[in-house]
Assembly symmetry: C2
Amino acid sequence: MKRVGIVAWGGTQFTMEDRKVADLMAESARDLLSGMPDMRGRVDAVIASTSDNEQYLAPIVSELAGMRPRIAHTVENMCSSGTSAIVSGYSYIASGLADMALVVGAERHNGPGRTLNWDISRGEFKKTIFWASILTKSYKRRFGISANDLAIVPVKNRAQAAKNPNALCGKACTENDVATSLRITDDLRLFDCSRLCSGAAAVLLASEDAVGEVCDSPAWITGVGQKTLSASFSKLRPLYGLESVRAASEEALQMSGRTAHEVDVAEVHDAFSVCEPMALESAGMARPGSGVNASREAYDTGSFRINPRGGLIGAGHPTGATGIAQAAEIAQQVTGQAGPRQVDGAHVGLVQNMSAAATSSSVLVVES
Amino acid sequence: MKRVGIVAWGGTQFTMEDRKVADLMAESARDLLSGMPDMRGRVDAVIASTSDNEQYLAPIVSELAGMRPRIAHTVENMCSSGTSAIVSGYSYIASGLADMALVVGAERHNGPGRTLNWDISRGEFKKTIFWASILTKSYKRRFGISANDLAIVPVKNRAQAAKNPNALCGKACTENDVATSLRITDDLRLFDCSRLCSGAAAVLLASEDAVGEVCDSPAWITGVGQKTLSASFSKLRPLYGLESVRAASEEALQMSGRTAHEVDVAEVHDAFSVCEPMALESAGMARPGSGVNASREAYDTGSFRINPRGGLIGAGHPTGATGIAQAAEIAQQVTGQAGPRQVDGAHVGLVQNMSAAATSSSVLVVES
């Protein structure tokens, strides 16, 4: 199996503007390819990631960005479409079918990815807010965590997003802002929620034989883990942990030969405040019930090690782009190119992305 | 790179009924898994293929059919979604990320795959009929082929579909039936057109280490070729040949170490009558302008070697399922399990699937 590295990245501003997914993807691909136009002829796979309904996006983006790849198709897997697409690109290269794969994801703010119509167990409007509320209540009860404890997640992530020029939300907030924001359910306030938005992100993957055409030191994908438990929320147990994240993290870390304690920097899927501690715990980066402490400690010490680009809460959540933006951030971190968000000495990074109440998850380990 | 074999297949009847894509996929997966329920726990990748807008289909189908895979996502690439999904499953296994991949595709008869809204060069209603008409006119002019010459394609394929229990169209027709069927454009009559319909198909792929758990003699995928030229019809040249088919066939045959003359049986993408000779010629199985002779010779000699299950014209065209149904047919052919459609002594098979006026194509070489 050939080694696969992330050699370049690109993206657009995340906004609430109404833009077409194909145009967002093309802008992101052109951003990635800017400065290396010759690479367009070297890209032999283009994988488009989205939950949008537009057809034939990979060939459309290829044409718009001046590529004629061999392999081209869309990958859809709701909120974790981005990492699913990266793993797809990874496998084309690792299998030898491709040397370079451009993985590009986008969503529009009012896209269809916000609801899962199939699962009637989510409540009347099939919105993510239903399961997020249930998970939050369950987690708080199990570990004696308060809404105030969880408020560190939006406080930290909004502060970190202020250093991310592509973030939807550039404004920091206080714990009081979180506690006094609009109450949506018993356990969720407005500032606890990430916002679906318009935006795109792209990464270029290359085989070990081809990385040198783009850069000297790529971010190697050393671990891949995925797990699909179900599509229905009603099948999930327990509700105070994320079983698919546990399984996917274990697989990814085992493949990379790393332990969770060796992870220097992580992008985890904070669709709602409670998801950050739950993900850290399920990935083995914090003990059960202590995830909020890890987030607080990072914040208090000024470390960007957890969700450096501001997470979904700070950066926004264009579903098809999120996993790719997370991977692009970790690639920048482990290669020392994250600028004002750089975690000192980061060499081992982790990306965790999930769909539909963590009925499925994807985890990548990325190293310099 | 690990060798990959097709070890099992399943499908549903192709119909004009209004059925949900998730239900069609689940029926097809259960059909494949019937008689080997233990394999459900061995499937570590589920790839769903469709142009339908329903979200999160791979986890939904996994849950409905009793699987908890690691990898799961949808692949969309219009009419060739099916082969794109098979190549994706192939790469998961060849790269070592999975041992067994279930690839399942479906469409509903009134699904969104019939139009490509992005490409304004296709005419007012963005229908495939526009490009099909232009290709037909161009092909006829270039090679001095008449509408009557092309009629052999629906005549042969409808006759062969009568031996395919899952086919939409079970009725043979005469050349006169074709010539007197409803005129749709200058160069196309109703019987020249495949019909979008509801239906599903599935194949189970396994690594060389795992094939023995299912069967003694799999159908090995020995060649994979894909090419994406553009998304716009207006970029295509020439219009009397299929450049993406030529490139993809060349790549697939080279990878397999075969020549086009060694192909014993082929499934080619006859979305319209003219596509069959054009595909045979572009794949190297017939000289330019002689594709209709190859189809006629096969028909006259009673050989099912070209589109044995009846092609898209005879079997129907549920877009997300078509490439998978084609691959399932060729797997049955090269392993001698095609029953009344069996081509004597077939050992080398070819699958050709394409999208959007052959702006992109996928070709597989499959051997026993």
